[in-house]
Amino acid sequence: MKRFNLFSVIVCLLVPFQVSASDLTIGFSWNSVTQPLERAWEDYMVSEAKVQGKAAGVNIKWVFNVADGDPSRQANNIEDLITQGVDIVSARAEDAGAINASIRAAKSAGVPFITFDRKSGSVAPTAHVGGDSYDQALTTGRAFADLLGSKGVTGKCIELQGALTDINAVQRTKGWAEVVNSRSEVSTITQVPTEWNPELFRSGLANALRANPDANCAFIASDFAITAVQAALEEADKWYPSGHAKHFWLATQDVLPGAVPLMEAGYIDVSTSYDAFAHSQEMVRVAIAIHKGENPGCSADGCLAKGRVVTPATIGTIENLWSKSYK
């Protein structure tokens, strides 16, 4: 009887440990936090970790750091996360090449590495989670070509590219090129690399407009700097809404909060959303799967969430567009 009681006590003590959630600490390295998009990602990751973590019996903790756009600082930040003993490292890379060394460092320390939003260069991480930038440019480009075709306009476009070290910018250029090569309604008359710098969006577009007075449209690799695009078009007397004779046709990427009112007013003709919530949801799902030793089931390109085409006609009714609701 005494032995039975002792056994019962031991069982009672052990049971809570058996059913309690396992801990998972994810160290996340931001390259920079300068846009509402990054804030939204982070907030959604934290909230989604609670939801998915509870369902999966995993208690997720986050450690975030920011590299302020400096690849070497990001490498140091990731090194710090590994030293702190996080279970998984994730990073949005400032530089696709420079992040390779950090992935190697994490792997040699036995820590899984998830690249987020921006893929690495030559070294494969444990998993990649992000948007499908190629598909994003492709869907925008096709919708743009359809629109111009329906209006009887032959588009001579200026392409404002992102930073050429950012794999998403490169994929968007490829996607747009695919459309230009396959459709007669649009062509690219000049490319302007911006390094994601708003000042270069403005001066680059202003220069390109002066050099190419026959340009009547632009493909903008991200609408985060849409005010700079607006300034350049105003300077050239080309900033008018759809329907106006001087309207300059605009196709953008992302539908970030600053672009929403401009699309509603008819200045932006077509865009494809970059779905922060879906990305964050996927990030947490993949992290939990890796933590549990399961296969996250990503495709060869990674776990990618596709965006949705948005136009002035649909922006008012499209559901769950984060940039409209996120505060």
């Binding site: 690399p193 001066s203 202003a206 050099a211 005010t227």
Partner: protein, 317 residues
């Protein structure tokens, strides 16, 4: 002796000649490059950096450096943008922008003049600290400016942009301050030999302090126009501007050792050189990293020309 003077004259005119040749080269490929629209467009684009470089030139004339000017631009415009979002009037916000710039310049002046910290080290510290402060104020987010301020970015008198006019006014004022006033002569004296200037009883501390205040104010004005041009305050504002300003000053023929050069022509020549290269390469659709390469080569040539001139002066004395 005559050969040396002739050599120095050739070096003095090397960059204006280079600028003309480069412009003609771009115009050969794309004739509209030298069209009035593009010339005024380039003057418009270079106005913010020329204003910031004017302050830098004043500091360099004393043989010192201020590498916090880009961060001052961010903090002062950050404050202004937040005030505008809180419904303060445009006039009040602009006034506060310039006051914040002057105040941050005074912080630099205080650390350098009264705590006796080397200017490069002092402003390296404040560059990092001010950028952090600026990002804190704006939450490192894009703050869209109201239409009234955004309109100022493209406001023009005919073909000449408002910021170009302000830039020329400020440049001329600072140039005259340097050339025609006692304050300017003390700056040159400090640049030539600070210890001697101090020994003969010149108000060195006050002059250095107020020069940093002026440079801070000019940085905030430059930041104001840079933000008005893009219609928003972003965390990119002023990033690397301090180094571009140093490059402008060097290419403009102002000696990094102080005491030599013309603020008006130096800043115009330096700013225009970089803007012509940027705009020209943009016209040709060149890779942006090619611009960095060319910019680096131009700075190297300017430094080399300055070193040759300095060597000649040393040999002659």
């Amino acid at each position: 002796m005559n050969t040396s003077i002739l050599g120095n004259r050739i070096l003095d005119f090397a960059f204006p000649i280079f600028l003309i040749l480069v412009s003609l080269g771009f115009a050969l490929v794309e004739p509209s490059f030298l069209g009035l629209g593009n010339i005024f467009g380039m003057l418009h684009a270079m106005a913010p950096i020329a204003i910031i470089s004017t302050g830098m030139a004043l500091i360099v004339m004393m043989g010192k450096l201020d590498i916090s000017l880009g961060s001052i631009a961010l903090v002062s415009m950050g404050v202004s943008a937040i005030m505008l979002q809180s419904d303060y009037s445009l006039f009040t916000a602009i006034l506060i922008t310039f006051l914040v710039g002057a105040m941050l310049g005074a912080v630099n002046g205080f650390v350098i003049c009264f705590l006796k910290v080397n200017p490069l080290i002092a402003t390296l510290g404040t560059m990092i600290a001010f950028r952090g402060l600026g990002n804190q104020i704006t939450d490192a987010q894009v703050v869209v400016l109201p239409d009234s301020l955004r309109a100022l970015g493209n406001f023009s008198f005919g073909a000449i942009f408002f910021d170009t006019v302000i830039c020329l006014l400020l440049l001329t004022t600072v140039h005259l301050l340097h050339q025609r006033t006692k304050f300017g002569k003390i700056i040159t004296a400090i640049g030539n030999d600070e210890a001697t200037a101090q020994r003969v009883g010149l108000p060195v501390t006050q002059t250095v302090f107020f020069s940093f205040v002026i440079a801070g104010t000019l940085a905030s004005i430059g930041g104001f126009f840079a933000s008005a041009q893009v219609g928003a305050v972003t965390s990119f504002l002023g990033k690397g501007m301090e180094f571009t300003a140093v490059a402008v000053v060097v290419v403009g023929g102002i000696s990094l050792f102080g005491g030599k050069g013309s603020i008006l022509w130096g800043v115009i020549l330096g700013s225009l050189t970089f803007e012509v290269i940027r705009s020209g390469l943009n016209y040709l659709g060149a890779n942006p990293y090619f611009y960095q390469l060319i910019g680096g080569v131009v700075i190297f040539i300017a430094m080399y020309a300055a070193a040759i001139k300095l060597g000649r002066s040393a040999n002659n004395s």
